[in-house]
Amino acid sequence: MLGACQLLTEKFSRVVAHLMQTTPDQIELMDGRLRLKANSAVGMTLAEVAGTMLARSDLLPPGIDMNPEAAFVWSGPNRNIPDDQGRCRSYLTAAEATHVVMVEIDRETGRTAILKYCVVDDCGTRLNPAMVAGQLQGGLAQGVGAALFEEYRYSDDGQPLVTTFMDYLIPTIHEVPIAEKGEVVTPSPVTPLGAKGCGEGAIHTTPAVLLNAINDALAPLNLAIHETPASPHRIWKLLHARNT
């Protein structure tokens, strides 16, 4: 967006400079007007420039594209192609987070209750903090589902056993904690505003941290579960196979 705005500003500056018989470097965009740096009272609004471009082609600099719009495709620096081992600079930014949770497993039911959920994440410059928090909670919710409840199962002869929401269990408000959230900000040196992608973050982490907590709970019994979801049924079977 910044790139497109920059291109558009340059195009408008060329038009205004031509109309005022000066050069584009003498023009600046300020408060919605393109004006002479040397005399800020002299200038045109964006609307006036756009209107001139569309209605007065006789006044425009020769060879200019008359459309008051600009398109821009951003790409990162230092792009390369992968070598034979797939090595390349692929994703540009690296956001990071650490999650800490405490859980309790109910011996009778195998259900895992989440007693505490803390997240600190670093996704660079946070352009809209409310959005970041929303994305984090959403990813967390899907992570809880993947770790504890959601699964498509098939029979040994290829018949799907999960075809309704009575079988595919999406977590509700009762299963998903609102995490305590904190932040660290290390801006990205690569992106224009220092932001990093963060929309998928928690789902990358929540299943890992929940399984780690569950296995920490089971460790004194010398039991472990390395299958997702660590559903109540699977944990119950694990506990009761040992008669603990």
Binding site: G134, G138, A141, T164, M166, I170, I173, H174
Partner: protein
């Protein structure tokens, strides 16, 4: 050809009368017969809650209700929340907006209707009561 039945309902203060097949769901009736598209269908088997509306003041899954079952009832849908004269949002809608209470908005009408029911019967609910009322499928 199945015999059609007459259904007469009050929806958000307006009376409608239509001839419908007995198998037509209330959700489809509201959406496609009455063109009130704010009630959305997420699962069609009563679990996700997106289709929740109020029938005579009580919340119900419109996907599991047949239109013929609603004959004679007073129905409230999300379209009935906004003030018709002033265009202002209902306080519940405004509260959701202020608290960033929606993302894509597909299931929001269901949440709004159960909240309306909860607050009409229990103006000061506890956190536990709110959670019970809001127990629906949600992907965010």
């Amino acid at each position: 050809m199945t015999k059609k039945h007459t259904v007469r309902v009050d929806v958000n203060g307006t009376t409608y009368e239509r001839e419908v097949e007995p198998r037509l769901t209330l959700a489809d009736f509201l959406r496609h017969e009455l063109h009130l598209g704010g009630t959305h269908v997420g699962c069609e088997h009563g679990i996700c809650g997106a289709c929740t509306i109020l029938i005579d003041g009580r919340s119900a899954r419109s996907c599991l209700t047949l239109a013929v079952q609603a004959d004679g009832a007073q129905i409230t849908t999300v379209e009935g929340l906004r003030n018709r004269e002033t265009g202002h949002l209902h306080p519940i809608q405004q509260a959701f907006v202020d608290a960033h209470g929606q993302q894509c908005g597909f299931c929001t009408p269901g949440f709004l209707m159960t909240t309306l029911e909860l607050l009409e019967h229990n103006p000061s609910p506890s956190e536990e009561e709110i959670r019970s009322s809001a127990s629906k499928a949600h992907r965010w």
